[in-house]
């Protein structure tokens, strides 16, 4: 210890391992390490492991890129895939039936005798539907955003309520499409959104008893849900997000539906 050195933080140590310290700071840290051989050993090991890891992965980086990953080829394939084949329609149908059954069972598993509050039941169904479809890669929605007008008209008709897709672009979420699900005694609609990094969010709507309730927040595993009842319909917004992130979105959705009932 020299006594007049400036304090060395763990952040400095990590930045030193990554060679990201400026000259003065690095010199100070090296002096500090001379005085603390145990710490010096640890940092030397961390630097060595970092270098070894880079070395190990160098060959992978240097490999020629396979043809299937060339951007030009991927774009050509994308153009081809727009022609929907019978096979993918069949697959979509299978996934829908399986998903609908999962939703049905998830719904029927909630004990009827206890009769949960309408918002809780809406939140639970919404979470179950979110879980089922949000991991879906091939067919996350039944009707895509390309047919938005058709989708909303269809869902509105089955739901018995005019349904519009709230604009969530200010939050970075874009409509992907939606699907019809069994919900309570009637039908339920699920609209799915995703953001630029692929994170998904769903809006779930179905008929529910009750007139109006406050927002109810529910966290189940990673899935967070805000649910509420408004004029005979239950609404839920679900995403992998914190309460604070989700609240403004739920408020925007609430405002979006309020004027259009």
């Amino acid at each position: 210890m020299t006594g007049n050195e400036f304090p060395i933080s763990e952040d400095d140590l990590q930045a030193f391992v990554d060679d990201r310290l400026d000259d003065t700071r690095r010199a100070a840290l090296q002096t500090h390490l001379v005085a603390h051989p145990e710490l010096a050993d640890r940092i030397a090991a961390e630097r060595r492991h970092r270098a070894l890891l880079r070395g190990q992965l160098e060959a992978k980086f240097a490999e020629p890129v396979p043809a299937r990953l060339r951007v030009a080829n991927l774009r050509a394939a994308r153009r081809g895939s727009r022609i929907v084949s019978m096979r993918s329609i069949a697959a979509a149908l299978t996934i829908f039936v399986v998903g609908a059954m999962a939703g049905w069972f998830a719904n029927s598993m909630t004990p009827a005798s206890r009769a949960p509050a309408p918002t809780t039941s809406v939140a639970q169904s919404a979470t179950a539907a979110f879980r089922t479809f949000v991991v879906e890669v091939a067919h996350p929605v039944e009707v895509g955003v390309q047919q938005e007008a058709h989708l909303l008209q269809w869902l509105s008709k089955r739901l018995g309520r005019k349904l519009a897709a709230p604009d969530l672009q200010p939050f970075g979420y874009r409509l992907m499409g939606g699907r019809l699900l069994p919900g309570g005694s009637g039908a339920a609609a699920q609209l799915m959104y995703d953001d630029a990094s692929g994170r998904r969010l769903t809006i779930y709507v179905r008929a529910a008893d009750g007139t109006e309730t406050a927002f109810r927040f529910q966290q189940e595993g990673e899935a967070a849900t805000f649910a509420w009842i408004d004029q005979g319909f239950g609404f839920a917004v679900t995403a992998v997000a914190t309460r604070e992130e989700l609240l403004p979105i739920a408020e925007a959705v609430y405002r979006g539906f309020e004027g259009k009932s």
Partner: protein, 168 residues
């Protein structure tokens, strides 16, 4: 859209390297990169023009990987019959063994620490960009990085990773 090709192509080797370090299987890694590129192309107009393209691509890749892992866990353990082979490094056998240990040891870390060590230590992402990719506040990146590196060191020093690797 014409610029997508020019901007994306130079970043593919780094994406393949990160994907391979995550999944440790060459074909699965390229599948992951392909999914990432397809998603990037379909969201091309939605990317933040001020944001770093590399960080955006790493974010997509990591999110795809994390949700695929979660799905796999829900389906139960999946036993892969294809043994993962190290990339064809022209290293001496001794050096190869030592290096293999670091990659194997990395597999023992939780995904978040593993990604952080790769993104910062190998891909040279800034601490802020790495925080963005992981979706955590910048302040927590340093402590997680520190914990991850110390854990990696203890795994390598006790040789636990080597042992697990051998019986796999």
């Amino acid at each position: 859209m014409a610029d997508a090709e020019a901007l994306l192509e130079p970043l593919i080797p780094a994406l393949r390297r990160y994907a391979y370090a995550l999944v440790r299987n060459h074909d699965a890694a390229d599948d992951l990169v392909q999914d990432t590129l397809e998603r990037a192309l379909s969201r091309w107009t939605l990317r933040r023009p001020d944001g770093d393209l590399r960080a955006w691509l790493f974010t997509i890749l990591r999110n795809l990987h994390v949700s695929a892992e979660r799905q796999r866990q829900r389906r139960g353990p999946h036993l892969d019959l294809d043994t993962t082979s190290p990339p064809g490094a022209a290293a001496t056998q001794e050096a190869g063994l030592e290096m293999q240990d670091v990659l194997a040891a990395l597999d023992q870390l939780p995904e978040e620490q593993k990604s952080l060590l790769l993104l910062v230590g190998v891909e040279d992402l800034s601490y802020d960009d790495a925080a963005r990719v992981l979706g955590v506040p910048p302040g927590t990146v340093m402590s997680r990085l520190s914990r991850g590196r110390q854990r990696l060191r203890s795994i390598l020093e006790t040789g636990r990773a080597t042992l697990l690797r051998r019986v796999k």
